[in-house]
């Protein structure tokens, strides 16, 4: 018994060693391939981040460089103690949460349509679904703005006046709720294809034999979805949610074009832009940018920890 157990342990140890050799060489290859890009990324992203961190410690106005003064963390104190910052943060989180949730569901449905579409139609279906994502955000923001703006003959009120609450005189961009509705709707229209594309790649990775086996065992459609498809797509869903959440959190174009922050629709990026570029208050604006950066890091951390995805598992090591 002892002999056979020790032989089994030896075999397992040898398998572990082999796997770790393979893993190490894969890691090395990964570094060779991604290393140069990683270094360039560090150069182009690290420099502005460090510069923003440094600038945020100063009272620095571009048109009054002689009055620059080191004030340490007072800019952060002003930003964090200001209701405008918290209002912008709240609006940004609201837009992020709503758009990501709706896009995840819609994106999954569209991904299923693309995945299951008949071979002949597949190309057309995919192209049609991806069209909104191909449009430049500023252009789509203007298109949505003009559709809803009553001062320039927006047609939405005339088309949908049969719906309760919509009248010919409804000024969508005169209130917070209605403005946010248009901003969120345009954001969803524009970026759902992106999330569906990521989910489609996840769907393609679900082994067909697993689905087939589940059906043979008598599983219903929803059981296959919940027990087979979704668990096997976890990594793809995590990537989709993470990418979209980060993008949604940095929303700028739609708000800038449609309301420019009027009616309490200002988002964090717009606040940072207005402070740094509009007011030329580089110190205060840098502090907001640094806080925005921290929020992005927190989102990435929560997404990776929350989904508990072990990317090593996809390499077949465990």
């Amino acid at each position: 018994m002892t002999t056979s157990a020790s032989a089994a342990e030896k075999a397992a140890a040898s398998r572990r060693k082999k796997r770790s050799d393979r893993s190490r060489s894969e890691g090395r290859l990964g570094w060779y391939l991604a290393g140069p890009a990683f270094v360039i990324m560090l150069l182009v992203t690290l420099y502005p981040i460090l510069q923003a961190l440094w600038d945020s410690l100063f009272s620095l106005r571009l048109t009054a460089p002689d009055e620059t003064e080191l004030i340490w963390f007072r800019n952060y104190q002003v930003v964090l103690g200001d209701p405008t910052f918290w209002q912008s943060l709240w609006v940004t989180v609201l837009i992020t949460a709503i758009t990501v949730a709706i896009e995840l569901v819609l994106g999954f449905i569209l991904a299923m349509v693309m995945h299951r579409a008949a071979t002949k139609l597949r190309g057309i279906v995919r192209t049609a679904i991806l069209v909104p994502y191909g449009i430049v955000t500023v252009v789509s923001a203007f298109a949505w703005f003009y559709a809803f703006d009553i001062n320039s003959g927006g047609y939405i009120n005339n088309w949908f006046d049969w719906l309760p609450g919509i009248t010919e005189d409804l000024n969508w961009f005169a209130g917070q709720g209605t403005s946010l509705f248009v901003i969120i709707a345009s954001e969803i229209w524009k970026t759902t294809p992106f999330i569906s594309l990521l989910l489609l790649s996840g769907l393609a990775q679900v082994p067909g034999e697993l689905e087939e086996a589940a059906r043979v065992d008598g599983a219903t459609g929803s059981q296959v979805l919940r027990r087979v498809i979704l668990p096997n797509m976890k990594a793809a869903i995590m990537v989709a949610v993470l990418f979209r959440a980060l993008e949604a959190f940095r929303i700028f174009d739609n708000v800038y074009i449609m309301t420019n922050g009027a009616n309490n629709t200002e988002v964090l990026s717009l606040l940072a832009y207005n402070t740094s570029i509009g007011r030329l208050e580089i110190g205060l604006g840098s502090a907001i940018s640094v806080l925005l950066f921290l929020c992005v890091l927190i989102i990435a951390f929560i997404a990776i920890k929350g989904f508990k995805v072990d990317l090593a598992g996809t390499r077949g090591e465990r």
Binding site: P65, V78, T84, N171, F173, N260, R279, L280, E281
Partner: protein
Amino acid sequence: MRRPQAAAAVLALGLTLGLAACSDDSGPPVLTWYINPDDGGQEAIAARCTEEAGGEYQIQTSLLPRDASSQREQLARRLAAGDTSIDIMSLDPPFIPEMAAADFLAPVPDNLQSTDDVVQGAVDSATWDDELVTVPFWANTQLLWYRESVAEEAGLDMDQPVTWEQIMDAAAETDTLLGVQGTKAESLTVWINAMIASAGGEIITNPEAPADEVQLDLDSDAGRAAAEIMSRIGTEGLAGPGFPTADENASMNLFAGDSGSFMVNWPFVYPAISGSDPDLIDDIGWTIYPSVDEGTEAAPPVGGINLGVSAFSEHGDLAYDAVECIVQPENQAEYFVTNGNPPSSVSAYDDQAVLDEFPMAETIRESLDQGAPRPQTPYYNEVSIGLQETWHPPGSIDPETTPAESAEFITAVLRDERLL
């Protein structure tokens, strides 16, 4: 020739030509004039002045963004970095003190200091710290435009000065709409300033003070009078449902529509409406901007463009020579006729082409002399955005509390205690 050799030859030729272009300094100095978008008038003047210079310099134009705030942003960023490629700049008046205080502007030479032939509003807006820091080019002002049929129906004598109350009552009585700019933008500040000035007040009492010492006088009878007018228009729907987002173009379209009655707006509306709806022109009249109270004078908004020369220009003297050519009265008159932007030169209003094309030219000149510029302070941007934050949407203004809250907010922003 084999392919690699051919490619090398083409590359060598390209490099030679490129280097030749870089080292070509035989021609006259090229002055870059950063212009705001128009109908091509500034480019035409640049071409004319280049020709008149007889080889001494060439003027090349470079286009700035459409709205004044973005123009300021771009110029301020470049100037803060000491960009030498900027020679002449078309500057919106409220942002001139900021650039002057930051030493971004080259001093105006003696031969361009005379303001004898310049309308008062343009002189005020070109001045900072009692010194002319830019050269007036064209001056703008808002008039009160009205539909003669509506004024008649309401029984208003438009030959006499009119008040805001009269036109609000007239719109309510005739069930028509007022063309005013209620959107959250610079136009809102323009309107607030004109009403406060007409009521005998001023937004800032010491505009030349440093940021933390600036005193605002919004919490005053004048501030409350302005707030009452905006609040009434908003709450009674006198400017229609589009009021909270209406800019100058939206106001013009409303005025030209079936419900149009009275409108405050810049003169560009006249050629625009003439072009789009020539029949309507017969029903349109104009007069001086409304006053806040009967017996007080109106203080019409003043705008326009002044020319500044960058302190970092490598050809400062030549740039001022070019400016002297650009602002000639005949160039201003031509610019008015072709682009609809009124001259700052008094004598340009006597030009026959101007009189033929703009029957309201005399009213514009009067309005420019009567006009009240916006606060001349290096912190104008903060004051203007602060007003927009607190007085928008106009329907939510409470005349009793808004002016005081606004003053408190802007003061805190100027002291770096609040964000905008």
